[in-house]
Chain length 337, copies 2
């Protein structure tokens, strides 16, 4: 298994991302092809025992797609960027999966342009795996690949999400729900009501509507679908709520001596909070529906987050998800079997 | 100042809501007209010193609009409900403001039907006032009155929100922003990009796009506008993030003795978290743009929340916001003056 890691497009310096790749290579038994400035990569790898050759190789690139770049323009014009060259390496089967912490819009545009969509899937969907307080992660798709969606797109997100839950997460009978502003059938905007009817009529394990306030605490279903604008707002608002509470805690702990002592006694709890809810340090988001495993890591990803994103990419590639999507998304029944 | 309190439509028993009205009457120098079952109200008031007559009166009603009722149907058919009779009392100027913890959709439909929209305002907007970690509350409008919006609706939400910030919250030069999935001008779905252009071109203190993850921690602006579907998802996802962290804390504190001791030392901090971020116990959401001050309290409102919602209604009525809206929403400049 060989993973392409784009080390130039994130917010953090390349050597931190390279470290994530090195750690993944050691612990996950994968080979890494680093796309980026060859001098920077060679320098960062100088102290590694394996060095170049066996587990590590360099795909030299001279350009960087920046976070502020206009996605389509950047992908068209920066043809020697780590992102575009990396996607081409995946297309040409030089690697089995692609990981980048870069500009989400550019990765989506580049992946559609370079790899193409899986036949029969109208729009790829970006999926995140959110930790919950009561069981495995909950999957949310789409969280930002498509700002304007049609009901049919949500149906395909549901089918891809359910397949991912079954084949990658090994959940036997995954349940899918629609993110909405109320539980009843007629709730929501036009897209939500039309998507509800489409999902209810499809051969699919559909559990109806879910609301945003209890997904993490109660994990009512395995997969939640929504349009990319709403999914992105959901994700960032959740992060905002978590940050607000932890911000108050941190402030008090610095300010009051007794609180400092209390925090010491609660350090195991704080560790759990950090481990469970620090979304920016966790995993990566698979872009499902393009011809190749593409994982978008958070822009602020450090070595730990990159290692986790490589794990997500490896597991998707091992499960053969793209090939499964290409054979068609039918074959579900309403009880998830 | 006389406030109508609908005591039948919430999730909690009427006597708890009546207690909130009684407390408000004592502390805010308002008179309360309780809409509901006269026996229930009279019984709950039996121990009050002032009793009926001076500060308290009953508007007897025989029906209740339930949370699960279909909004338009319920408002049309349950003409002797506390909600409909209460809105009629506001229309007929028997009271100065209306407060209900009932079915949001039914209150919106009932208010439009009974009171009518303020001339020139295409859609009323439901606004919440969210506590922040660094200053006054931040206002978010719309959080659920309109699931499908046009750019023009968002412009009016912005103008109403800015006027509320200036005239009720006494913020001298309120800044307004658009809730979006990125900071740049061309980000977001079709509604967001069109609304951005409309807001930028309007005579309005518009500060551009804001993202959902830092509204509570950084309070980048005074007023945030969005469509009601997105606003409702934002609100509930924020609540979900807060609940997740406090849930982990609560769980640990019950489980580990050391954590229990730590929590005791942090009790002042936990009090701050509860006070700052327990949205369901706070205030009420004004429905701006209908002909009369209408405040929708959270369905789970207890006496404290009802008292707070009455405070919101009183302040809106005192500021004469409806009259100001009726005189037109122009008169803003781009720097908020």
């Amino acid at each position: 298994m060989r993973i392409l890691l784009d080390v130039m497009s994130g917010d953090r310096p390349p050597h931190e991302l390279i470290q994530g790749g090195v750690n993944a290579a050691k612990r996950q038994r994968v080979d890494i092809l680093f796309a980026g400035d060859p001098d920077v990569v060679a320098h960062a790898l100088a102290h590694e025992k394996e060095k170049l050759g066996s587990q590590f190789a360099i795909l030299p690139c001279s350009q960087i797609i920046e976070m502020a770049d206009s996605p389509v323009k950047a992908v068209r014009e920066k043809t020697d960027s780590s992102m575009v060259r990396g996607l081409q390496a995946l297309r040409d089967r030089e690697v089995d999966a692609f990981v980048s912490p870069g500009n989400t819009g550019a990765i989506v545009a580049g992946a559609i342009f370079t790899l193409g969509r899986v036949s029969g899937i109208p729009r790829p969907g970006l999926m995140v795996s959110l930790p919950t307080l009561c069981g495995p992660d909950i999957l949310v798709i789409d969280v930002g690949a498509n700002s304007d969606c049609q009901p049919d797109h949500l149906l395909h997100f549901a089918l891809m999400g359910a397949t991912y839950a079954r084949d990658v997460m090994r959940i036997a009978q995954p349940q899918v729900a629609l993110l909405n502003i109320g539980g009843e059938q007629n709730k929501g905007n036009r897209l939500a009501t039309e998507a509800y009817n489409l999902l209810r009529g499809a051969e699919l394990p559909f559990a109806g509507n879910v609301e945003a306030h209890h997904l993490i605490t109660d994990r009512p279903v395995d997969v939640v679908v929504c349009d990319g604008f709403v999914g992105n707002i959901f994700l960032k608002a959740t992060e905002g709520g978590v940050t607000a509470v932890t911000g108050i805690l941190r402030h008090s702990i610095h300010r009051f001596l007794l609180a400092k002592l209390g925090a010491l006694l609660l350090c195991r709890t704080f560790g759990t909070i950090r481990k469970t809810l620090s979304y920016q340090r966790r995993g990566g988001a698979p872009l499902l529906g393009v011809n190749g495993p593409v994982v978008i890591a958070h822009g602020r990803s450090d070595a730990v987050a990159i290692e986790s994103a490589i794990d997500v990419a490896r597991r998707e590639a091992e499960a053969g998800l793209v090939e499964r999507f290409a054979r068609g998304l039918a074959g579900w029944s309403r009880d998830g079997g």
